[in-house]
């Protein structure tokens, strides 16, 4: 009887740069087999492996995966359809690990995304097998290259190790950087997983890995494939027992991960707070009461909103974290079409605009008309909330720019100019509040309408920046 397919890629054409790297590819991975992708450097092994995970746009063809219910779904196709992968394991060539996460956290995250809830003894057992248990609470940035690679490989294998259901595992150059004992362990675990019905696809040059596979698929120079089967003589090792299943919630895992990274190393908060506070202090120092009174309430309104507005325009630290060792691509593969949406929210400044706008008001509001001061104090939070919308839109624009191969060389600020519109709306709204007090009417000249319009403009910008790139 033919083994069931875990995933298949059919009629696949994929370009990298201007070069057609994969041409009319047909590839599938069955339960219980280890498949080695081989070929010279630049032949397209990594592209093929990553395309199977839905990570690349294709000019023809489709990739389909089977889920735990036996339903086969298109994960990505040439018409731009994209869905989230079913639970699986993935190790990228560049590890995909952010240096701020601890070893235990990383393993736990890889498992929770795939719908597993390991106990600390489960985690410890796996880390111990790979010689990482003594570093469990260390940040991965402190690991040597070899230990980091061990962790990346373990995170790729663990969703299958901890699962009783067949899983597909994709490993890109897994043995690269591993010492002899770790390579031996990898071979033993791969064979044991295959014996349990899991499927493993590895891109490799390593003869030891190739010898441990059941099928060798060669990527040829013209971008096509040739395939041959072989009898594998490698021994299966002993695996830890599977752990309980939970409903996978990658978005919650993503949010938890981002929160932990920021708490541990609050670069996002600092990089937003600092320019805002500097601008506020400069305004306070150099713009006197006379100038404000002479220029009117619209000037005062702009000064009050400016520091918080500056803070929301700053590029999210999340993008820097994503850039580290392909971390963002790992998340993108596992979150699928939700990655951009999720990242635009968790990369935005969701808290700072509110305290910043109140601090601005407390420092600069002395010159405001006394009769409307109380109104401003009671209603300025609505403007702060609208600035959070602006921040989410700004994060989406930054993410759009980060799609570029050399995103550090791209001037994202040019696209952020568009956020001047909501800033103008909010300034006008605050001017009216300063002049006449807050009202909640829905007329065009009402402050509430203007704030609403600023938020709607931000939502529109967010929609375009989030959905256009992935259509």
């Amino acid at each position: 009887m033919e083994a069931a397919k875990l995933f298949s890629a059919s009629n696949l054409d994929v370009y990298r740069g201007n070069r057609l790297v994969l041409s009319n590819i047909e590839l599938s991975l069955n339960e219980g087999e280890v498949v080695a992708l081989v070929g010279p450097n630049g032949s397209g092994k990594t592209t093929l492996l990553e395309s199977c995970a839905g990570m690349h746009r294709m000019t023809s063809g489709k990739v389909e995966w089977r889920d735990d219910n036996g339903v086969v779904r298109i994960i990505r196709d040439f018409e731009g359809r994209r869905k989230r992968l079913p639970p699986m394991g993935l190790t990228l060539q560049m590890d995909g690990i952010c240096g701020d996460e601890t070893i235990e956290e990383r393993l736990s995250t890889a498992l929770s995304i795939s719908g597993r809830a390991p106990s600390s003894s489960d985690l410890n057992q796996m880390l111990s097998a790979w010689g990482l248990d003594h570093r469990a609470v260390d940040p991965t940035a402190q690991l040597s290259g070899g230990l980091r690679r061990r962790l990346a490989v373990l995170c790729g294998l663990s969703p299958a190790v901890m699962s009783a259901n067949p899983r597909a595992i994709l490993l890109d150059e897994p043995s690269e950087g591993l010492d002899e004992s770790a390579r031996g362990l990898l071979v033993n675990w791969m064979r044991a997983l295959a014996a349990q019905g899991h499927g493993i696809l590895i891109a490799t040059h390593d003869p030891e890995m190739i010898a441990a596979s059941d099928r060798i698929v060669s990527v040829l120079e013209d971008g096509t494939l040739s395939s041959e089967t072989q009898d594998c003589l490698a021994f299966a090792g002993e695996l830890p027992d599977p752990c309980p299943a939970i409903e996978p919630n990658p978005l919650a895992s993503h949010l938890r991960w981002a929160f932990r990274m920021e708490v541990r190393n609050p670069i996002d908060t600092i990089s937003r707070l600092l320019p805002a506070l500097i601008s506020l202090l400069l305004i306070h120092t150099f713009v006197g009461e006379k100038e404000i009174l002479a220029s009117g309430n619209d000037f005062l309104a702009a000064l009050i909103i400016a520091p918080a507005f500056i803070s929301v325009l700053v590029a999210p630290a999340l993008i820097k974290r994503y850039a580290e060792a392909d971390c963002g691509r790992w998340w993108s593969a596992l979150l699928g079409p939700m990655h951009r949406i999720s990242s635009s929210f968790i990369g935005a400044s969701l808290i700072l605009p509110l305290p910043l706008i109140y601090i601005s008001w407390l420092i600069l509001g002395d010159t405001a008309p006394a009769e409307t001061s109380q109104d401003v104090l009671e209603s300025i939070w609505i403007i702060g909330l609208s600035l959070i919308d602006v921040s989410i839109a700004a994060a989406a624009v930054h993410l759009l720019v980060s799609d570029l191969h050399r995103s550090n060389a791209a001037a994202a600020s040019l696209l952020l100019l568009i956020l001047v519109w909501p800033f103008i709306e909010l300034t006008d709204a605050l001017t009216i509040i300063l002049n006449d007090g807050m009202t909640f009417g829905l007329g065009m000249e009402e402050p509430f309408t203007m704030i609403l319009l600023a938020s709607l403009t931000s939502v529109l910008i967010w929609l375009v920046a989030v959905f256009l790139p992935d259509v």
Binding site: N18, R57, D403, R406, L414, I424, P469
Partner: protein, 241 residues
């Protein structure tokens, strides 16, 4: 045969560019020597209005360039057409050039007439500035990023981003407080515009249109030749390796 076609296109491009440039210079001269002054009672800086003879043609040609960018972005985004990408490249280059003309000449007039160089509440000025920003982003990114499908996908998305957002958000936010003046300076009975001013303006628009056509031909041709060069280099790479 192919060589002749390329050479003749190049000559046509240069001819249009030369004629257009000459016309632009003549427009500038006529704006001082032939076009009448405007009512000094009605305007704060009546002499400054003469910048309009370049400002309006700049606006017209940049609008055409942004439209080329938009069409190219759609063609690449939807069907990955090579000609679409060449239009993106051409449209962004020319959009930047003529857009800068608008956003430089506009504030010069604004500073003289309004007393402030920039009005954030102004629909047209801001829209052109934002679209010029988008064009500048695409031009800089095309130079800094490796050429390939992914880069083109992202930049064509940015082209669409600009077009999808700028007019809509601009309209949504400034519909009811536009400050930009109309083009009417002095009305005559039949045309609505002083005939001498109309004539100079027409010469300006025609000249800038010729300049735009010439530069479009030359820019598109240079990108076509560059694409051929890249293809030949890739073949050479394969031979070397």
């Amino acid at each position: 045969m192919f060589g002749i076609v390329v050479i003749s296109r190049k000559h046509v491009g240069w001819a249009f560019t030369g004629l257009g440039s000459l016309g632009a210079i003549i427009t500038a001269i006529l704006s001082y020597t032939y076009a009448p002054g405007v009512d000094p009672e009605a305007w704060k800086a009546p002499e400054a209005y003469r910048i309009l003879f370049w400002h309006v043609p700049f606006a017209w040609t940049s609008f055409v360039a942004f439209t080329i960018l938009f069409i190219g972005s759609i063609a690449w985004y939807a069907r990955r057409k090579e000609w679409g990408w060449r239009l993106v490249a051409t449209g962004s280059d020319l959009g930047l050039l003529f857009g800068l003309g608008v956003v430089i000449s506009g504030p010069i007039w604004g500073a003289a007439e309004w007393g402030v160089p920039w009005d954030w509440g102004d629909l047209r000025l801001n829209t052109y500035a934002l679209l010029t920003g988008v064009a500048l982003f695409i031009v800089l990114s095309r130079r800094s990023q490796p050429d390939g499908i992914n880069t083109r996908d992202t930049l064509s998305t940015v082209g669409l981003f600009g077009f999808a957002l700028v007019p809509i958000t601009a309209l949504a936010t400034t519909l009811y407080r536009e400050r930009h003046p109309g083009v009417i300076i002095v009305r005559s009975e039949d045309s609505g515009l002083d005939p001498e001013i109309s004539r100079v303006l027409l010469i300006g628009v025609l000249s800038f249109s010729l300049l735009m056509i010439g530069l479009s031909i030359l820019t598109e041709l240079s990108y076509r030749l560059r694409a051929e060069l890249v293809e030949l280099q890739q073949r050479l790479d394969e031979v070397v390796h």
